[in-house]
Amino acid sequence: MSQPVQIRVTVNQTEHAALVEPRRLLSDFLREDLGLTGTHVGCEHGVCGACTVLLDGETVRSCLTFAIQADGRSVTTVEALASPDGTLHPIQDAFWEEHGLQCGFCTPGFLMTTYELLQTNPAPTVDEIRDAIAGNLCRCTGYQNIVKAVQSAADKLRAAPAAQPVS
């Protein structure tokens, strides 16, 4: 049964049917089979957090999840954050404005982690922000501006809660 298996996964509200080998990682399924290359793969063993996506609304490491485990479930990737017309999500705006990135490789993971944090805790303290993003590694910036960006994103979302995407 290492033969390919048919799965159906809803990704960013679009249902996809695909044949996958059981060993196919969700990260590779998203990037290579669906062409959703916004989800980045850094360490590929669960340390760096770049591949973070939402599975049924909760963050998971897509490199530690098999695509077959998402069968019948719903995945949200960074591509779902901006509006279809390209307008950035307030979290993305905040990272842009606060220089919460340099090379941008880790950013998709930070955005999805921030998205979950602000869904559950709309006004996090600095300590809570640092605790929440501790599982995401950035090798460029240090974390000062990332923390500022999360604070700014929290302010924006509290001011305009309608800007939340559906997942």
């Binding site: 063993h45 963050t59 605790d131």
Partner: protein, 298 residues
């Protein structure tokens, strides 16, 4: 890297899962949260022929009241334990330990039973369960048995679980009133495995002396270690800082720490004493705060 090829089963019932395990024995691995197993697969450090994915089971995930404490389904996610009001009321040590396991994203997937069965010597939950005198229920097609935490961990990444057994439930008895608990650890970054950590439970009598002490450590040997010499040294003693300090020194009698890139064996011995002292002091302070007579506050 990518995981090696494997035969995949996602049983919908416990019986089916146990049957698959008994069919494949040593060739099979159970996939629970996958936060330890999948890295091992991706790094090609493990290559089981068969994976039995437990994520389609809808059992063994509850966190329920039991004997003053908790009965925790082996498949309960760590984040569920962390958020459980019942756990916070009855066994705050487990909540404190769980919050030190990886990161929120890891705990969404990681399971309580998975952490125990994986038995990483630096992991927090095995040490907490040892301090709490928990027992583990294991099932196979041959039946069910209950194993005390003290008998469960046998060495580096190994337990007494047979290849055809899976954990179904963790039973953690309640603690006496006037008990304070604390889990403290030393790690390079928040969320890393502990270089060493200590779980302490201190119960005070009406005079404010130590009536019952439990101390278990992680990261200081091949598995979690209970430091009975420390517990005995404090029995009946007034928990003054000097007493805690001298008792904590006896941790070294119980441990044989490894040396690795994070620190030498000597460093770990030294840190184990400090973690033990801090955990005992914090547990004592919390026990004092729990008594009507007050104490040193929170």
């Amino acid at each position: 890297m990518k995981p090696p090829s494997f035969e995949y089963h996602a049983p919908r019932s416990v019986d089916e899962a146990l049957t698959r395990l008994s069919e494949h024995g040593d060739a099979a691995k159970l996939l629970a949260g996958g936060q330890s197993l999948v890295p091992l697969l991706n790094l090609r450090l493990a290559a089981p022929e068969v994976l039995v994915d437990l994520n389609r089971l809808d059992t063994f995930a509850g966190i329920d009241a039991w004997d003053g404490g908790l009965a925790i389904g082996a498949l309960a996610r760590q984040s569920a334990l962390e958020r459980s009001n019942l756990a916070r009321e009855r066994l705050p040590l487990l909540v404190e330990a769980t919050r030190l396991v990886g990161h929120p994203t890891i705990r969404h997937r990681g399971t309580v039973g998975g952490s125990l069965a994986h038995a990483d010597p630096a992991a927090e939950l095995p040490a907490a369960m040892l301090a709490l005198d928990a027992s583990f229920v294991a099932r196979s097609t041959r039946g069910e048995r209950t194993i005390a935490a003290a008998d469960f961990f046998t060495g580096y990444l190994t337990t007494v679980l047979a290849p055809d057994e899976m954990l179904s439930e963790i039973r953690v008895p309640g603690v006496p009133p006037d008990t304070g608990a604390a889990f403290v650890e030393l790690s390079r970054r928040h969320g890393d495995f502990a270089i060493c950590g200590a779980a302490a439970l201190v119960t005070l009598d009406e005079r404010g002396h130590c009536d019952r002490v439990r101390l278990a450590l992680c990261g200081v040997g091949a598995g979690p270690v209970r430091a009975q010499a420390v517990e005995a040294a404090l029995h009946g003693a007034a928990p003054r800082p000097e007493a805690l300090e001298s008792a904590a020194q006896r941790v070294v009698e119980a441990i044989d720490p490894p040396a690795d890139v994070h620190g030498s064996a000597a460093y770990r011995r030294k840190m184990a004493v400090i973690m033990a002292r801090r955990a005992l002091a914090l547990a004592t302070e919390r026990a004092g705060a729990a008594t009507p007579a007050g104490g040193s506050g929170r």
